[in-house]
Amino acid sequence: MSSPSPWTCAIIDRDPRLPGYRSDARRYDELLDGQGRVRGHWRTLIDGVLEDDARAARRAAEFTRRMIVENGITYNVYADAQGRDRPWILDPLPYLVAAEEWRDIEAGVAQRACLLNALLADLYGSQRLLAQGTLPPEIPFGHPNFLWPCVNVRPAGGRWLALYAADLARAADGRWWVLADRTQAPSGLGYALENRQIVRRAFPHLTQSMDVEPLGAFFATLRDELLGAADAEPLAVVLTPGSFNETYFEHAYLARQLGFPLVEGHDLTVRDETVYLKTLSGLKRVHTILRRLDDDFCDPVELRVSSALGVPGLLSAIRRGTVSVANALGSGVLESAAWLGFLPPLAQTLIGEPLRLPSVATWWCGEAPAFDWVAAHLPELVIKPAFPNQKLGAIFGSELSAEERSALIARIRARPHAFVAQEHLAFSQAPVWYTKNADGLSARALGIRVYAIATPQGYRVLPGGLARFASDAHAEIVSMQSGGGSKDIWVLADSAEMTEESTAPSARVDRAPSKQTDLSSTLAENLFWMGRYAERCETKTRLLRATLGLRRKLPFHAQATDICRQLGASAVFDAEKRFTLSGDIDRLGECAARVRSSLSAENWRALTVLLRDYRRAQATRSDARETLDRLLLSLASLAGFALDDMTQDDGWRLMMIGRRLERLLFLAEVLARRLTQADTPLRQELEWVLEIGDSTITYRTRYRAPPVWDHTIDLLVYDERNPRALAFQWRAINTLLIEVAESLGTPAQDTLYESISDLVALKYERFGGDLALAQASREVLARRLGTLSAAASRLSDQLASQHFSHIEFEVRAVSA
């Protein structure tokens, strides 16, 4: 238990249905009014969820938890000991805002977006505000995201901010204050949409009876605005730094919702000052980039050199006006608390209006009077860095000793422009159902993020957003990174007037799959390798399982173990080395993470479960047989998803070619190795081979006798009806290759033909018995299987060079 806080003396505890919900005199209470009564706009919700011993709330909580896991909604926290992905935390209870109050927030956020856009126009244009002394040059020029190469680059329509978000909190006086502006690449929009889709289903009746503003129209507008200025067939992409980014889930989700391909920097190329996407069918012109990559990383030719994340030459395309980037490169300069104090006069200067939404009181220490004031009032203030590249967290003056305070003051004095001081704001509190142990409503500090998009009619605000709450009752910091959770925001429609959305036909944001020709080469390559690794895991698992089942006394046991070792399957758990089952499972997870936008939620879930179970088994050193059995089952379900759950486009075809190739390579290897062993095999050996080839049952039903070489080879090599046989693989591969070639208008690879016809020529040879003749045939067969393996490896390389080649080059910086 946490120690009682000094504020618990101010407990008001009136509504008997809310035993665990305590008001706090320092905070504005979103739920209860001064008399401890539930506020009007919360009543329907609270009555609904608490009815019948809170059955609805419990059910919704359970549903929400399940959906998070099943949809695989994650949030990556760097250096997280629990692994890269952490499940998203969503409280089932929405945060409610009354219509009237929302109108103020909406107008305030729209105005602020407009103001900040005008500020960017000045900073990257005439810099009149600096010349007039309205703004200190230290703030833009000291900011790492003020990009000099972008000075005098005016984006189309003068639109620097296509998308903007403001972080708001409500103070004890009931007013909303802006804490921070998100101008670079505001995150959270995808999570907000996903939250809504879950919470709406968690409380299906309430959503209808409470008349909640829908979000769909906003996303449709965002999509239209991003595609807007382009030609007849515009292509927009979402540019992500990659699957290690903390909000990668969201990038993939947003891309899927908007119907834009999700790409990394190396998927794009700039030719003749125009941006192209590398797709399976060649280069395709890109008109709009919605970037989730920080602006200074976007073009290593003109901006930060160190990164391979960006698109070399992007700025030259932007300057030429052949591509538009949202938000414009350089917009990140406004992400600094140092600007906040300057906004009220700027609003007058730039848009001729008073600022509607105040910012939390902020002093930029670069001004001498501000510095003096800050030095004198340090215990009441929070000190923050002015620039994002300073390695400094928020410092609460109240927590410092006298010595530490003077040290901090000296530090600020040495470089005053790099520090800001802010008033400490006690956030309002709202009811939360999600808590670790409790089963009822409790109170948490809360902040909201509100989004706006630019339209020709001005900024339009999402009627909703992302609410975030603190991790425990006394915590102040509301962020996902520090262990808090999120909530959906319900803006309650005004019953008096019909809003535009509720009369308009509901705009649904459906999964709008991007056209097949837009399939990026990287995505295709990762699908191909995902297919190969999935199959590789499966074959190795079978090999290991079959070998574990052999009696150690068998003379053949040593050879089987040898084969396992040679094929990289010597142990069930072997995390140290790369070419092992453990390594392959890791690789499978990595490929899958990169193609996540093409996998269904269930498919992704099956994968997550597989990885989790295997790692858990590894950690607890579970029984090997049991682990392998479970693994095979999971892998079989993945194979099922591959067949039935994916759009059968070229990406899918390449994935299936990957699977088939891997199966063919592996079985050909095992057979060739066994065939060259001189002796007539023991019955157990052939059973072992059949088990690896997953054809034991088929053999038994078909021949009803102990296995012999002739039938085994027929079943595993030539039988086109056996989905495990080599013949089945090569036929399938050829069909898929022809389909890909037709779709792309390229000639199909015929790499396998020769070795296949050589093999087919042996079809009616005798391999059985102990005749010298049969021995000779077996050796020929073994050689030809070897040739087939080699051809299959070559085919894999050819596919790589034909379809994925341009992504294999490393992009490097040169300087002289």
């Binding site: 600096l130 010349a131 007039q132 002394g133 309205t134 200190p136 040059p137 230290e138 020029f141 000291g142 790492p144 000099w148 190469p149 000075v151 005098n152 190329t269 700039v270 030719r271 003749d272 000052e273 290593p300 030719v301 003109e302 930060r304 050199v305 070399p312 030459g313 030259s316 670069g366 001004e367 001498a368 620039f387 590249n389 040495a414 470089r415 422009h417 341009h806 080059f809 490393e810 992009v811 490097r812 910086a813 040169v814 300087s815 002289a816």
Partner: protein
């Protein structure tokens, strides 16, 4: 007045084909009150698909190149004839005290003088120039209270020349100032970055100048840095304006210095930077020749244009 012929050649021999590349060039001299570019030519081999001449945000001439065809060798040869006149006499003692300069560059919510605002671009942290207490203290070893800005910068230049060993190959483009200060050696780029860092860490304005220096001086001595592109530091010294200090050679820049471009640090004005796709390991050869020309007869003065 001096006239020079400069030939700056950069050749990349790639280990394999470069499929595609983008380059940014700062290889054309700026026009200045004391410097005129009489002739400038850029020879490129192979010919790029796209070539754009432009002026960057700091007013430097620049070129952008894009290669869209496979090549295993890139040769960039800039040749120029430049006239450098004597600079206005710099009475360093007549400059404002350095504390006053720092004060005038601070924000006071009133319209700044245009010169001061220009200087503000060059007093903050940049990619290659960190701002640190350590660098501030380094400069304060030789800054005395009330010292004129020019004299203080000169003292700092002497200090750097005394402390640092000029040693080609001892550092790379990414060596930080802190490392240079610790290891006490480097090339002209490091000397310049250290001086800039020490000045900016005290709230003063300094910019990085890229150019060439004549190896054989008129007095017969040899200058360092003449066999490659050179770099030095321009310091804001009101009321004189910007004064150029060459810490590698421990003297003020003069008729021996040809200016190409200036920026916050090396990153803004590196002569040639780029991103290549493919290419494997590469060999780089840079060759700079700076050659004083015979004074021409007055009549033929403008023939070179």
């Amino acid at each position: 007045m001096m006239r020079y012929f400069v030939r700056h050649s950069t050749v990349y021999e790639y280990g394999g084909d470069v499929a595609h590349s983008h380059h940014l060039l700062h290889l054309k001299p700026r026009e200045l009150s004391h410097q005129r570019c009489l002739e400038h030519a850029l020879e490129l081999e192979p010919e790029p698909g796209v070539r754009h001449e432009d002026v960057d945000a700091f007013g430097n001439p620049m070129a952008r190149l894009e290669y869209d065809r496979a090549h295993d060798r890139l040769s960039v040869v800039a040749q120029m004839r430049v006239e450098v006149n004597g600079r206005a006499a710099s009475d360093l003692a007549a400059t404002e005290a350095w504390e006053l300069v720092r004060g005038r560059l601070g924000y006071r919510a009133t319209p700044p003088r245009a010169d001061d605002l220009e200087a503000c671009r060059f007093r903050m942290q940049s990619d290659h120039v960190a701002i640190k207490q350590e660098f501030a203290e380094y400069a304060l070893r030789c800054f005395e209270p009330g010292m004129p800005m020019g004299a203080a910068a000169q003292a700092l230049m002497h200090l750097i020349r005394r402390d640092l060993k000029y040693q080609p190959g001892s550092t790379t483009n990414r060596t930080s100032i802190a490392e240079v200060l610790k290891n006490r050696r480097g090339v002209c780029q490091d000397f310049a970055h250290l001086m800039i860092g020490a000045l900016r860490s005290n709230g003063l304005a300094a910019r990085y100048v890229s150019g060439y220096v004549r190896t054989e001086r008129q007095d017969g001595a040899m200058a360092l840095g003449g066999d490659a592109s050179h770099a030095w530091v321009s310091v804001y010294c009101p009321p004189l304006g910007w004064v150029d200090f060459d810490p590698t050679n421990d003297r003020l820049a003069d008729e021996d210095h040809v200016t190409l471009a200036w920026g916050r640090d090396f990153g803004d004005v590196s002569p040639l930077r780029g991103m290549i796709v493919g290419g494997g390991r590469h060999k780089l050869r840079v060759d700079v020749r700076i050659q004083p020309l015979e004074p021409l007869s007055p009549g033929s003065r403008d023939n070179g244009r």
